[in-house]
Every structure is written in C-alpha cells, then in structure tokens.
C-alpha cells in the first residue's frame, strides 16, 4: 500500500480508535496510549495491510484487542471496568434537569453497560458501522450483535424513562 494513501486513510480512523478505546478503558490518557500503540503496530504491518480491503475494521479490531488486553493485564489493575459515578448522577438528577447534564448522564449509562454491549453500542451509535463490520470487529455473528445492541439500547431506554419519571416526581 502506498504510504501516502495509508496515512490518509488512517487519519480518518484514529479518532474512532481513540473514542472506542476511551469507551473501553474509561480514561483519556489510557485511550491515547492505546491509540498510539495500535497505530505503531499498524504501521509495522503496513505491508500486510495491502491485501486488506477493510483497514478501518482491522484497526478497530486491533484497538479492541489491545484494550481488552490492557484491562486484563496487571498494570491496568487500577483501571475499573465499570466507571461508577452514582453519587454525582443522583445529584445532578435532583438539581439540574438541563439537557447539558442529561448528556453527561448518558455517558454514565453507557459506561455502566457490560463490556460487550458497550463496545457494540459505541461502534453502532457513535462510529456508525454496519452490522457486518461490527460482527467482524467483535468476532460475533451478526445476529448476536443485533441482540446485544437491542439489549444495550433497551437498558438505556429504561434508564431514560426512569430518570424522566424521577424528574417529574420531585416536581422540579
């Protein structure tokens, strides 16, 4: 693959890689490290990539594997798989119903999902990949991806409805 073409293509993916890593690792610094590390590995394997039509999918798969390894490794033992912010969440519910805070609440909702659902909802709703690509990245069947996606969305839906009723209940 031509170097220039590679760099142009990778430039469009690296933000997706960063967001994906951040969703999984719940840390900006860790996500930046992960992105850089995966970019380095991709560069080393550039010659092998010439046969790959789907660079984006390959890059995302590598990011996923790297992040899961990081979560498993000892070095990352201080990283939490689930990012709890319950105190702040209930606070902001009672004090502000403004859209701005609900948006950060959504972050918490998404972060508390199981790892697989988190990955799939990130790839679908934020990175807008089709089911085929998501299945490829997550190494699942398309059917399993659809099921996990609908579960994740329903969990979030229920939380949204609950938060909405709670908002009305307090009369604010």
């Amino acid at each position: 693959m031509d170097e220039k073409a590679y760099l142009n293509r990778i430039l469009t993916v690296q933000d997706s890689m960063f967001r994906f890593a951040k969703r999984l690792l719940s840390s900006t610094v860790e996500a930046e490290d992960a992105t850089q590390e995966v970019l380095g590995k991709l560069w080393k394997n550039m010659n092998k990539l010439s046969t790959l039509s789907n660079l984006e999918g390959y890059a995302m798969t590598m990011t996923k594997n790297y992040c899961l390894d990081r979560l498993k490794s000892k070095q990352a033992s201080q990283l939490r798989l689930v990012h709890f912010k319950h105190d702040r969440a209930s606070d902001s519910l009672e004090q502000h119903i403004a859209n701005r805070d609900s948006v950060s609440l959504i972050h918490d909702y998404m972060d508390t999902l199981p790892a697989q659902q988190k990955m799939i909802i990130q790839l679908r709703d934020i990175e807008q990949y089709d089911f085929e690509t998501i299945a490829q990245i997550t190494n699942l069947s398309e059917g399993a991806v659809r099921v996990a996606l609908s579960r994740a969305r329903k969990t979030i839906k229920n939380k949204l409805i609950k938060a909405h009723q709670h908002g009305i209940g307090t009369g604010s």
């Binding site: 990778i10 933000d15 380095g40 560069w43 807008q128 949204l160």
Partner: protein
Amino acid sequence: MELEQVHELVERYFDGKTSLAEEYELIAYFSQAKVDFSLAHYAPYFTSISEQRKQHSTKKFIPHRSGKRINWKYVSVIAASFVSGFFVLQQTVFFNQPSPEEIAFEEFKSNMYLVSSQLNKGKQGVAYMETFNQTTEKYLNTK
C-alpha cells in the same frame, strides 16, 4: 417527519432494528429545537450521541512510527544502580589507599629483603669451607 412516524422509528430503534439511514433521521429529528413532549426524555441520548461523534483527542497521534514508550521505571532502576555502584567503587578505592606508615613499612621490608638476599649470597659463598673443616677434623680428632 410525522410524529407517529418518529414514534414508530424510536420503537424500532430501541429494538435494534433500524438501518443506519433511519438512525441518521432520528438524530436529525432530535437535534432540532422543538422535540415533541412525548419524546422529550429520549432527546438527551440522541444529543449525546451526536456530541460524542465529534469528540477527539487533543493529543497528536503519530501514525508512522512505533509508539513504544520508554518505561521510566526500568530506566530509573538502572540509573540508581549505576549511581550507587559508582559510590561503592569510590569508597573501596578510598579505603584501600595505604597510609604513610604502611608505605614506610613496605619500603623498609623491601630494603631488608635486599640486604638478606645479599647476605644469603655471601653465606652460600662460604658454605664449601665446611667441607675443609670436616676433612681435617676427621684426622685430627681420632683418638
């Protein structure tokens, strides 16, 4: 988009049955200022999504070089052992420096060796005189 249509789309969305194009439409609907009251509680989710799509790192990534970082923990361990090793080395060199008395003693010892070796040479020179003594004594001392 008709309200009923949006409701139906939202339903299908949460069942995970919408296409990417339909999801795009939904996000467009929720990004406008006036969202119907019956759907208002879903709005934060869709605004959050479109906001998260714009998120990117402030760090500049380098896509063409190995991103291997130096592990400073190991570097510091190696540096510390070098520094401490240097001090230990210096201490031993310092303590092994001989005092003036010791130097004088060594000098004296080597001088005495010289003297004793010369003396031994002289002693060897007169050693054969013993034979003469023995032979004469043999005849002189017979009683």
